[in-house]
Amino acid sequence: MSKASPQKTVPAIVLHPDDTVATLLAGAKTGDNIAIGSHQPLVAKEDIPIYFKLCLSDQKAGSDVIKYGQTIGTAQTAIRKGEKVHIHNMTSKRGRHSGH
């Protein structure tokens, strides 16, 4: 039913072995394959702009979001593999995020 454009492969980068997110090096559409070096390939579950983060494996609400091998915030909801990770579903531990 949807007029899906042909799938493409979008490069992404993971900066540290402990990371729970990858950074996209090009914009992805839903269903695009995400290629991350030697990491297991995965599929984007939604549209994600260039340089935004993508979740590498299913995460529970309250879990740490890790990039550079360091905690950059907390998952506010469960986040599935292939979904976008940004301010709609993660919050800073230090910025005292009071909603947006």
Binding site: Y51, I72, V85
Partner: protein, 388 residues
Amino acid sequence: MTALQDFDGYHRPNGLVGVRNHVLVLSVTGLTTAPARQIGAAVQGCHVVTMPYSTGLIGQDREVHYRALVGLACNPNNGAVLLISDHKPKAETLAQAIKAEGQTVQILTLNEVEQDPVDLVAKGTRMAAQLAKDLSSQRRAPAPVSALRVGLKCGRSDPSSGLIANPSTGAFIDQLIAQGGTAIFGEVVEWIGAEHLLAARAASAEIADRLVTLPAGREASAMTTGLDLMGSNPSPTNIAAGLSSIEEKSLGGISKTGSTPIMGVLDYAETPQGSGLFAMDTPNYAPEHLTALAAAGCQIALFTTGAGNSFVSGLMPTIKICGNKVSCQRLFQQFDVRLDDLIETAAPLPTGSRRIAEATLDVANGQMTWGEILKQGDDVVSRFGAAL
């Protein structure tokens, strides 16, 4: 990695080396801003710094203002200073401090022209013209790369800053410091979430303590005003570009400092003693931060940006570095170093670091930055409280 080469700079009597040879027209009161600008516009080779504040500063502002004015005057990129003020005694006190640092300085005040700003412009133009003539006979001569003091700045950051522009800058800074050079970073709020990594590199326990307490203090003052740091930092531009939290921004940001020990934490506009990497207590805002670095004697600023930040220092040639492919297409001329082709390559950092090193030495040797070509550049000293 090949060693960084010598550069040709202007050797000052106090042993410092400039990469530019400005006549600095320094107006130290808001009353003389317009005449100072008119003098600077009339005479080739001038750079004008004007201060809107003067009389009535108290406490920390009084101390910082004085230190910053002396520091800006003594930046080695200035060959001479024409100090313009209202009252002669005040100008003389400042000029003595500038002279004590080995800088050539002349004074012109409204007192000497019977408060007539038109006469001030006429007299000042003659004085600045003679200084420019004198400076134009000076020649560049070889100087070691250890004579460089480089200021670091991020602006309009995005995830490409932390992926390529900042770590490439950090790799160059490591090399500069290994060869005896100096670098200064600041922007205290952007240490939040990465303080533990900075503190682990501190050269002493006291330095480690300040690297942790300074951001905590700024965070606490934001909280007492009801300011949600998430609303101001990351900024809306940062968030629109993909940065989600201050921690994420900070972790990317500190990678421009490289990996060497942090030798000290400087107050705003304070000159470092010795060489190596220093932190400085500065706000993030580009004009205030870059001015503090110029007052601390940095000759060049390395300014990494994702979306593109248009501000440059007037006293320090400011090298804009970008790794965002969209920004590089949009603003292609305006980045002095482009790294957007490197992110997906196998060994991006050594190549990025080499490009930054080449650009830094080219600019040190006299090549103009985009900001200089467009005559951009301004200087503004931070304020901390009310005046009398």
